[in-house]
């Protein structure tokens, strides 16, 4: 039963009705404008599947995106969605989470959005560790603006803004997340939505910040890193014998692999670390959006005024 402020969710009062929850529960009437074959379709499918797996209803999650092809995802599903600004969804999501931690907060954005213009929020959110799941549709290109090189474009990648090939060392998002102290670092592939769904579900389940970098083919502007290109190279770390995602040093080495062999799966996970919300005193009594104004009453006010006499 929703509270007086209308913000509550079924999960708030403990009762949880998941009967009838299917991927169709997340469907709306909007037809995606993505190019046929775009990897973003795989991400959309995987996200819906993960939510169904975790029995999270549309009103219990908030999906915050940025600006870019992939960020349009919130327009194509029935969910509390917020398409914000280019590069800013993590900051907006942090505000949502800290105001109402009862929502499952998920960020979806592109590589330009997440690692380029949004790099500072990425770095600081990773070390801050709020309970936010961060899915980056990494197509190694600025797609919506029609094909400029991105921070993850490989060296030598030619675009309208890198006619002689990208000269900068690409961002390695996994390594960066590890260096920032992220407690969950994974990589998925849009061409394998089922596996991706399992990673997203693990990320949502994980308490704290979870990065899921998704290899997402852009069939229109990235003619190098195609489905085939990725498919030929990826392998699953959970199928490697002896790989332990709790081993930081192993993760560090694994995260550096790129090129002929590209690992996908949970690269690193450290459990039992408190998420940022647990340090916030005002959240001790539950989400602040559920706190009545009456908390600050006349007696409190008079006490505050007394400080100035």
């Amino acid at each position: 039963m929703p509270g007086a402020d209308g913000t509550t969710s079924a999960s708030r009062n403990g009762r949880k009705d998941t009967q009838g929850l299917t991927v169709r529960s997340f469907a709306n009437h909007v037809k995606p404008t993505w190019c046929p074959g775009c990897g973003d379709f795989g991400v959309l499918t995987a996200l819906k599947q993960a939510l169904v797996q975790l029995e999270i209803w549309p009103h219990e999650a908030a999906v915050i995106s940025g600006i870019g092809c992939g960020s349009k995802i919130v327009d194509y599903m029935r969910i509390n969605g917020f398409m914000t600004l280019h590069g800013r969804p993590l900051a907006v999501a942090t505000g949502v989470k800290l105001a109402n931690p009862s929502l499952h907060v998920i960020v979806v954005n592109g590589d330009g959005d997440g690692y380029g213009i949004g790099g500072n929020h990425f770095m600081h959110t990773a070390r801050r560790n709020p309970d936010i799941t961060h899915i980056v549709e990494n197509n190694q290109i600025y797609a919506l603006t029609k094909g400029q090189y991105s921070p993850t474009s490989d060296r030598g990648f030619k675009t309208s803004t890198s006619p002689d090939g990208a000269a900068e060392l690409p961002v390695n998002p996994l390594l960066l997340a590890l260096a920032c102290g992220a407690t969950f670092v994974a990589r998925g592939f849009a061409g394998e939505p089922k596996h991706l769904a399992s990673l997203i579900a693990a990320g949502i389940r994980h308490k704290g910040y979870a990065l899921i970098d998704v290899l997402q083919p852009c069939v229109t502007f990235n003619k190098v890193n195609t489905y085939e290109w990725y498919a030929e190279r990826i392998y699953r770390v959970d199928e490697e014998t002896g790989y332990d995602p709790a081993d930081f040093d192993a993760a560090w080495r694994m995260a550096q692999q790129w090129g002929d062999r590209i690992p996908v799966g949970i690269i690193y996970q450290r459990e039992g670390i408190p998420s940022y919300e647990e340090f916030v005193p005002a959240l001790k009594e539950g989400p602040v959006v559920h706190q009545p104004f009456a908390k600050v009453d006349e007696a409190v006010f008079e006490r505050l005024k007394l400080e100035y006499t």
């Binding site: 929703p2 549309p58 327009d75 969605g81 942090t94 505000g95 800290l98 005024k305 006499t309």
Partner: protein, 594 residues
């Protein structure tokens, strides 16, 4: 009528600030009305700082020139403040300083040397020199020793009993010595002039002495602030620090963010989720928030920004005052969307803006900017206990749908951006099964989905902008201070209310009948009320703490009304009533000549 000004001057790091606030509060507790300002540089140590405290028997609204008593912690302070001393002013200083007696005599000032350092080191250590100065000043002026001691005891309590006792001893000895040595010779002493209004010295409700930022933060807390995110920036930092300090008591989520972009984005996220969210900053930080301001406007999320102006442009004069960001705040961000801008004129109005901004933000579902400045933010003003009243505070969330109301909706019926006659679409917070919707910063339809259709675009733009017309209805016109039939009208906005109003008696004394029209509700501009008020104006000057007369230009843009002259100040130091009066008299004289 008693009305005296005291300056405490010294180097940064010498405790000028704490001395000033101690002296101010001791004056209040001695029964006087007090108004204090602080002048300091953007550095941690070194360089001249001062505190200027005005003590009067009547209600006062600003600092005032000239100064009657100078507590000089350095020789430099004497050199700097000499020119601003009143005839018969006293200069209290350590006897080790060797001031230029000649120059002082020319100003009719008297030196009162005192063994500050000696007293301080005897009871404690050198650091307490400033306590000695404060004690002596209080004695010479005739403040209540008990009042002073109560303030000192409280201020030093965190440092332990020993420190408290030493300081009390230093203050008391200096107080008594100053009285003994110089009683009678200092002509501006308060002793026996007006009996202290009350003998309140303990912490029972009495008049308050509060800074603007404290009053605002208090107002915000009362207004139901639930979230504040910020990046430190003078002179707004103290709002944030005030709320952080009381986060547990008030139940406010506070977040020191990685930068200002994150700060406002977090607040917008919190506002979207349903928390009353605040971002305090100054012009430089606001510059970084511009893009997100437009986002809040477009997705119709309430958020309050306290933009505490300082001297610009760019890093400028970081610890000083200016009203240089008015037209910037009004037009910041690409494209057009509703925003509300308030520029409180007094500490009471700044307090009120603290809660009123949230009501406006939620009623009109748009960003609200409270434009203050360093002068308003950091000055201490005396406010009657009753003037900040709990009953006055209203918390109006506008058309926020309750859970019960939403329960009654059919599935898929709720439309976040519904077209309505007022432009206000009933708002549902995320978390309710009947109100699952997406908001996007692209143009969108009533449900929130992206569309570029022409009709929808026009309808949604009209809808959003209608909210501005709706809000305009409750924007307050200018407040008139002084006689209706004045020959000269001083038009001002924001923090200048106090100095402008206090210049009226000075003008009156020079035979000029003037009044003040003060604007505090800036946007949407209260055009009709302004035009009505302007009809009665015979001749107008604008008084502004900036270079180009931004408000005068805004007024012309909105009403066509032109002022005869813009009285400007842009050196980072606040206008005093005397400076305003002098400039007005010039204008009157010039007008008479022409």
């Amino acid at each position: 009528m008693t009305d005296l000004s005291i300056t405490i001057g010294g180097d940064a790091g010498q405790g000028v600030e704490s001395s000033g606030s101690t002296f101010s509060l001791a004056s209040l507790r001695s029964g006087w009305n007090v108004f204090s300002i602080q002048d300091y540089r953007s550095r941690i140590r070194g360089g001249h700082n001062f505190y200027q405290i005005r003590v009067a028997s009547r209600e006062i609204r600003s600092h005032s020139d000239p100064v009657h008593l100078l507590l000089a912690l350095t020789k430099e302070s004497i050199d700097i403040h000499l020119a601003n001393l009143a005839p018969g002013a006293g200069i209290l200083h350590d006897d080790s300083l060797r001031p230029d007696e000649e120059a002082a005599r020319a100003h009719g000032a008297h030196f009162f040397p005192m063994p500050f350092t000696e007293i301080a080191t005897r009871h404690g250590n050198r650091v307490m020199t400033n306590t000695a100065a404060v004690g002596a000043g209080a004695g010479l002026l005739g403040l209540s020793l008990d009042a002073l001691k109560s303030v000192i005891a409280e201020r030093f309590s965190a440092k332990g009993d020993k420190v408290v006792e030493s300081n009390l001893a230093v203050a008391e000895e200096a107080y008594n010595l100053a009285l003994k040595r110089y009683q009678g010779t200092f002509q501006h002493s308060l002793n026996g002039r007006v009996p202290p209004r009350s003998e309140r010295r303990s912490r029972t409700p009495g008049p308050m002495l509060i800074s603007g930022n404290e009053a605002f933060a208090l107002g915000a807390a009362l207004g139901g602030c639930r979230f504040v995110s910020a990046y430190p920036m003078t002179p707004a930092t103290t709002i944030f620090e005030w709320l952080v300090k009381r986060e547990k008591q008030l139940g406010i989520v506070t977040k020191h963010a990685e930068d200002e972009i994150a700060a406002i984005c977090m607040a917008i996220g919190a506002g979207y989720a349903g928390a009353r969210a605040l971002v305090p900053t100054s012009g430089g930080g606001f510059s970084l928030m511009v893009e997100a301001l437009g986002m809040a406007g477009m997705v119709e999320v309430p958020v309050v920004i306290a933009e505490v102006q300082r001297g610009g442009p760019s890093t400028g004069l970081p610890t000083r005052t200016e009203q240089g960001d008015l037209l910037f705040a009004l037009h910041a961000s690409q494209g057009e969307f509703p925003r509300i801008v308030l520029a409180p004129g007094t500490h009471e109005e700044y307090f009120e803006a603290g809660w009123r901004a949230f009501n406006l933000a939620e009623k009109y579902q748009c960003p609200v900017i409270v434009l203050a400045d360093q002068f308003l933010a950091a000055s201490l003003s005396t406010i009657a206990w009753e003037a900040l009243s709990f009953q006055s505070v209203r918390r109006d969330r506008g058309q926020l749908l309750t859970g019960q109301e939403l329960d009654a909706f059919d599935n898929g019926e709720y439309r976040r951006f519904k077209l309505t006659p007022t432009g206000i679409s009933p708002r549902a917070l995320p978390g309710h099964p009947k109100a699952v919707y997406t908001v996007v910063t692209d143009e969108h339809d009533e449900e929130g989905h992206i569309t570029e259709a022409i009709d929808n675009r026009v309808a949604q733009m009209d809808k959003r902008m209608r909210k501005l017309e709706e809000a305009r209805k409750e924007m307050r016109g200018p407040k008139r201070y002084g006689p209706k039939d004045a020959e000269l009208t001083l038009i001002c906005w924001g923090s200048l209310a106090g100095p402008a109003v206090e210049s009226l008696p000075l003008l009156e004394a020079q035979g000029v009948r003037a009044n003040v029209l003060h604007f505090s509700d800036i946007w949407p501009f209260p055009v009709q009320e302004a035009e009505k008020a302007l009809q009665a104006v015979k001749r107008a000057v604008a008084v502004e703490q900036n270079y180009t007369g931004q408000f005068a230009r805004l007024l012309r843009m909105c009403t066509g009304f032109s002022v005869s002259r813009i009285i400007r100040k842009f050196d980072g130091r606040p206008f005093s009533p005397q400076q305003i009066a002098t400039a007005c008299l010039e204008e009157v004289a010039q007008h008479a000549r022409s």
